[in-house]
């Protein structure tokens, strides 16, 4: 009982620290705005993101520069780029969230077991973590995606999750190593509680803060990875308004001076990643977590 109030006090203190950090609040605001845009995309977007206007309105709407009608211009099919960017937020967030869940589902148990058990189990899991780390990240994801026959958003987040879990696992493992010999763990062991219960009920809640920080910071890099994959033609399928896919489709026309197709989606990626980076940094400072990279 006493422990619980102590830990909720910790969270409260963290919130106070977080509130004082301007960048953290900015991050929170930016992230919230992206989430709201994603949720209310169909209300905000001026056009249907997949509607191709060239068939009805002809050449004038093909690759039209930004104007009052189309704030960010149109692409070769006369689709409204602003509307596509707005709907694209859904794709990026979806990937970010689901890939994070996959990484947590793999990384937390493996990291916890490695850290708690030590010995050969730890050696084995640590070896696996090191192996995945030694892989060039993007190539590994590409190879995993190639293994699945038909690409889809689900394949993308599973593939990213399969690679991204190592960061989480490392953090959890380090936490468990420092926590496993604490008094409250010893007490639980003395009570004869089953191992699983000790790991997940007693130690894990105390190891949560760094996991949250790592996962938040990870969101940014996952969103960036998704964009990179879509850019190379893997992942989101057309006409999905994935930001990376838009950059990839638009890049050919950059050199002709039709820059809006490829440049605006990049700004959207930057804004979103920036949001999660600010938020993650803020959480780290607030929760007073030191992460080993």
């Amino acid at each position: 009982m006493a422990k619980k109030s102590r830990s909720s006090g910790l969270w409260y203190e963290a919130w106070l620290r977080f509130k004082r950090n301007k960048l953290a609040l900015l991050g929170l605001f930016m992230a919230a705005s992206v989430i709201l845009i994603a949720i209310f995309a169909s209300l905000i977007a001026p056009y249907d993101p997949v509607e191709q206007l060239i068939w009805t309105e002809g050449r004038e709407v093909r690759l039209a520069p930004p104007s009052v009608k189309h704030w960010m211009g149109t692409d070769i099919y006369g689709r409204d780029i602003l509307s596509r960017i707005i709907f694209g937020a859904r794709i990026s967030l979806q990937i970010g969230i689901f890939a994070t869940i996959v990484s947590l589902l793999i990384g937390v148990p493996l990291g916890a077991i490695a850290g708690y058990m030590g010995g050969w189990v730890d050696d084995l899991i640590s070896w696996l973590i090191n192996v995945v780390f030694a892989f060039p990240f993007l190539l590994f994801v590409l190879a995993v995606i190639a293994v699945f026959q038909s690409p889809s958003l689900r394949v993308v987040y599973i593939a990213i999750g399969l690679v991204n879990w190592v960061g989480i696992a490392r953090v959890v493992r380090a936490q468990f190593i420092s926590l496993r010999d604490r008094e409250f763990v010893e007490a639980a062991k003395a009570l004869g509680l089953p191992r699983g219960k000790i790991i997940f009920k007693h130690i894990l809640p105390n190891a949560l803060a760094p996991v949250i920080v790592q996962a938040t910071l990870g969101m940014g890099s996952i969103i960036m990875t998704e964009a990179g994959l879509a850019f190379l033609g893997f992942g989101a399928q057309p006409p999905t308004p994935s930001w990376g896919l838009m950059i990839s489709e638009g890049q050919k026309y950059l050199s002709m001076g039709k820059w809006w197709w490829a440049i605006f989606p990049g700004l959207a990626i930057m804004y979103t990643v920036l949001a999660f980076n600010f938020l993650g940094d803020g959480l780290r400072d607030a929760l007073d977590v030191r992460l080993k990279r």
């Binding site: 192996v131 993007l138 190879a143 850019f231 950059i247 950059l254 050199s255 990049g266 990643v273 920036l274």
Partner: protein, 308 residues
């Protein structure tokens, strides 16, 4: 020291083995038949079978695996399915291009990052500090391929200051944009880290002591503060080498740079198994070597660290 290095290298062996095995497994279950790709669109099943046999793809998996490991131990990475080039030769020629790119990107990143970080720390809360940190965090948040396109748009297609994409050895103009593109992210990370480390160090007792002894500010900063602040910076440079190789995949694709990253992606698409294995193993080795060098270099920077 020597035994430490040997131990570390021995430790790398199972990691490399793991990388090799995972690549092998992925490539056995990946759809897409390399023999088929060599034949092109129209394939006569019989010729297909003969090409598969020629490539050793008809052997049972475990035999293919042991054969591959044996060759690997001998340093033989095989021959590309796609163009008959020896994988080792291909890696050597392409690695030059990647290395040049990564090296200059790292030099740029380290110089710019440390400089910006130190000035930001010394002039904390100044306009310079704010704008440098804003640029840094934007640099971390922007996708590398988009940065590349943006630079191309501005400097190549609009201002015509540089020639655009392509690789002409010896012509430095072709290096500018790819180096900047690849260097942005590490530069930003280094700047941020240098700044925070410097701030921490500057509040330490020995700096105060040094200052109180009347040493000039510049000497305090350069000789005492920076040296200590650099320890974590060196770490990040080491880990960045690995990220740089991953980032090189995209940078090389945009700038049509004939490096290892692009080679790897092309090989993956062509199901050129020997080349895929070769590039991945090669990159993993580079990663481990870079980490080893970082570990060792600690000793020179921070004498408190002992290798035992």
């Amino acid at each position: 020291m020597f035994s430490y290095i040997v131990r570390k290298m021995l430790y790398a062996v199972p990691v490399i083995w793991g990388v090799v095995t995972i690549v092998f497994i992925l490539m056995t279950i990946v759809p897409g038949d390399p023999a088929r790709l060599m034949m092109g669109q129209r394939g006569d099943p019989e010729t297909l079978a003969r090409i598969r046999a020629d490539l050793g793809l008809d052997l049972p998996i475990h035999k293919q695996y042991t054969r591959f490991l044996k060759d690997l131990v001998k340093g033989d990475l095989g021959v590309s399915y796609r163009n008959n080039e020896k994988v080792v030769d291909a890696l050597m020629t392409r690695f030059g291009a990647t290395l040049k790119l990564a090296f200059w990107a790292m030099v740029l990143a380290a110089l710019l990052g440390i400089l910006a970080g130190v000035v930001s720390a010394v002039k904390q809360y100044s306009i310079f500090d704010y704008s440098a940190m804003f640029i840094a965090i934007s640099g971390i948040s922007a996708p590398v391929f988009w940065v590349g396109l943006l630079l191309l748009l501005i400097f190549a297609y609009t201002l015509h200051l540089v020639p655009g994409v392509g690789y002409v050895p010896g012509d430095w103009r072709y290096f500018i944009l790819p180096v900047i593109t690849l260097g942005v992210r590490p530069a930003a990370l280094i700047a941020r880290l240098t700044r925070s480390c410097m701030l921490e160090v500057l509040t330490q007792d020995y700096i105060r002591t040094a200052r109180s002894k009347g040493l000039r500010e510049r000497i305090v900063i350069m000789r005492h503060a920076l040296k200590n602040a650099l320890i974590p910076v060196v770490t990040i440079i080491g880990t960045q080498v690995a990220e740089l190789l991953s980032g090189a995949v995209l940078t090389e694709t945009i700038f049509a740079w004939p490096g290892v990253g692009r080679l790897a992606v092309e090989a993956l698409i062509a199901r050129d198994f020997p080349m895929i294995r070769g590039t991945v193993i090669f990159m993993a080795v580079i990663f481990l070597v870079a980490n080893l060098i970082v570990d060792i270099s600690y000793g020179f920077i921070d004498p408190r660290i002992r290798y035992d």
